[in-house]
């Protein structure tokens, strides 16, 4: 049966995760993300899934990885301070290629910062928060409906590419309520990790398969193997061979690059002839869209590129708009993080103008409109 629900972004994300088949949640209470844990604590036991509140943020991430290795579709949700703590295990999930989904409902930082105020300060942490070279997938929804659909996509991507997927929901989107339609089962494709089909004795858990992604068996399915956070070869055992180490790290990054057509998502709004383009994501994209509409009504050639996937960074649409735009405006609730990527891609072909706020107030359409 088709359902319509009036949900906040956090709840819509939880609904989306359940739709995607999420059956394990481990978390630790933190504002402004706790509604996700509460929703899952209510729903998962009713659906034979597992909910556990762990002793801390690090433990939640460890439990998520363990559960995923045992075959569960697992997730956790947190906010800035907890996201910092989870970085150690996000790196572990990257190198061991364990599918999992991490939600960071962004609040004002650094440190305890402003727990109930919105911010977009974790963009670079989502990319480089854990040490060492690694691939990153991060998605920033801007509507409640997107929270649902991007939750499904996040699980699909993490299962297919065997990499953690991070959702950067800012506090505004997390707590805002909108009506959404919950699709019927089967309406959206659900992707599950591929299973190995080799004989038990020939099995190499880290042998790359389709798209460079290995088919790692779930524990308890008859295969017997080793998983380690140390650099390893195809057998899964540690190696100090520079050739093997180089191959591993390159493959991790390349498997995500190869999937960019599927992973990257953005929306173009009135961009075809735009001389001024706004590039925005999360709740700020809503203000930007309104500002663009107002400016168009006033006869100005302006448009919006709304980023949904932010890591890997969507280079293509930005290069395209740089062909005709002379001015690119980047409003962000931080002191300039995505703007660095925009400058890199535009390469001086247009003026890049940042609009920044870090006082936990939203960027209003007016603030963007005056620059258009």
């Amino acid at each position: 049966m088709e359902k319509e629900k009036f949900l906040q972004g956090n709840e819509a994300f939880a609904e989306g995760a359940l739709y995607a088949g999420c059956n394990f949640f481990a978390g630790y209470p933190i504002s402004p993300s706790s509604e996700i844990a509460e929703y899952m604590a209510y729903e998962l036991p009713r659906r034979k899934g597992v909910f556990i509140e762990m002793e801390d943020e690090i433990a939640s991430m460890g439990a998520v990885i363990g559960a995923s290795l045992a075959g569960a579709k697992a997730m956790t949700a947190t906010s800035g301070p907890g996201f910092s703590l989870k970085q150690e295990h996000i790196g572990f999930a990257c190198i061991t290629e364990v599918p999992c989904v991490i939600v960071d409902v962004m609040r004002g930082g650094p440190s305890t910062g402003t727990p109930t105020g919105p911010a977009q300060g974790d963009v670079m942490q989502a990319r480089w928060g854990t040490h060492g070279d690694h691939p990153a997938v991060a998605i920033a929804p801007s509507t409640v409906e997107e929270c649902f659909y991007e939750a499904v996509r996040a699980f699909n991507i993490s299962e297919k590419y065997r990499n953690p997927v991070i959702l950067l929901i800012d506090e505004v989107v997390g707590h805002m309520r909108e009506k959404i339609r919950i699709p019927k089962p089967g309406e959206i494709e659900i992707i599950n990790r591929r299973r190995p089909n080799e004989a038990y004795d020939d099995y190499l858990p880290y042998k790359p398969d389709l798209g460079g992604v290995p088919n790692i068996a779930n524990f308890g399915t008859g295969y017997r193997f080793h998983i380690t956070g140390l650099s390893h070869d195809w057998s899964g055992f540690p190696t100090n061979d520079p050739k093997r180490i180089g191959e591993l790290i390159q493959r991790l990054t390349k498997k995500v690059e190869k999937g960019e057509d599927e992973i990257l998502r953005w929306e173009e709004f009135m961009l075809e002839d735009a001389e001024t383009a706004v590039v925005a994501y999360g709740s700020v994209a809503r203000s930007a869209k309104f500002a663009v509409k107002c400016a168009r009504n006033a006869g100005k050639k302006v448009g919006l590129l709304k980023l949904i996937t932010i890591w890997p960074f969507p280079v293509k649409p930005l290069k395209r708009l740089a062909e005709h735009a002379r001015k690119v405006i980047i409003p962000e609730m931080n002191l300039g993080q995505i703007v660095l990527e925009v400058e890199r891609v535009i390469g001086g072909k247009a003026d890049v103008i940042p609009i920044n706020r870090v006082d936990t107030e939203l960027i209003s359409p007016d603030e963007i409109l005056v620059k258009l």
Binding site: F24, A26, P45, R46, K48, G49, V50, I52, M54, E55, D56, I58, A59, S60, M61, G62, A63, V64, I65, G66, A67, S68, L69, A70, G71, A72, A74, E88, H89, F92, F219, G220, T221, G222, Y223, R224, F225, H226, I227, T228, G229, L230, F237, P238
Partner: protein
Amino acid sequence: MAFDYSKYLRNDKMPHIWCPGCGNGIAMKSLIRAIDALGYKKEETVIISGIGCSGRISGYLDFNTLHTTHGRPLTFATGIKLANPKLNVIVVSGDGDCAAIGGNHFIHACRRNIDITLIIFNNYIYGMTGGQHSPTTPSGSYSTTTPHRNIDPQFDLSKLAIGAGATFVARETTYNIFALDKVVIEAFKHKGFSVVEVMVGCPIYYGRKNGFKSAFSLLDWQRKNAIRMERAQSMKPEELEGKFTTGILHRREVPEYTQLYYTLTESFEKSVDKVSMERE
């Protein structure tokens, strides 16, 4: 016939990296004998370790094995056991791994009473990084980071486990391997969170700095200072000064966590079934 360890080891990973005289190998063999005695299937058994000398054990044992981050093997183990309660889940952790960086996970695993066995290799030192003092290094002893004498008080890991609510706690030495085998088997059989603290000597990084001239002298120290629990009960506190008790120190039967959890989920199934039947 002598016990054939090779069928439980990844023989191509031998020789192991543990130093000559290290107690880890003795403890690992006891663990293997216990698994053999209980007939655990390799495919249904997951062995999880953290970082440090003890952490290397997961690479040597031929089961499903997971070598995790420093101090956190219990968190991964909790996720695995909850996601698939049919698996036998064993964690091996060192004193630094378990009681310092992983201390919070340790006490909460004890509190939760999930059916996991934790074997702690307590060697009083951080061996892998070159002999720095750990939370179990005795006060007054020397290490590379206490070159002038250790003033930190020592953690009693078994007492900590009991205090935190573990339902099975035992301590044994690598000197008394027959007693060690017995408690490891009992720990595996226990339905709930079980802790075995194994006193393993580190002759290289702890022993040399603290007057132990050989690996044997550390084993001899264990022999002299391990007091059976039954005997300790009739001894005066001053007689027990500097010594430690061994045996099964604590055991009680309490509902196990995954059982409680899945009983809870089954109650929903019943209520859902009832509703759908009523509708029909």
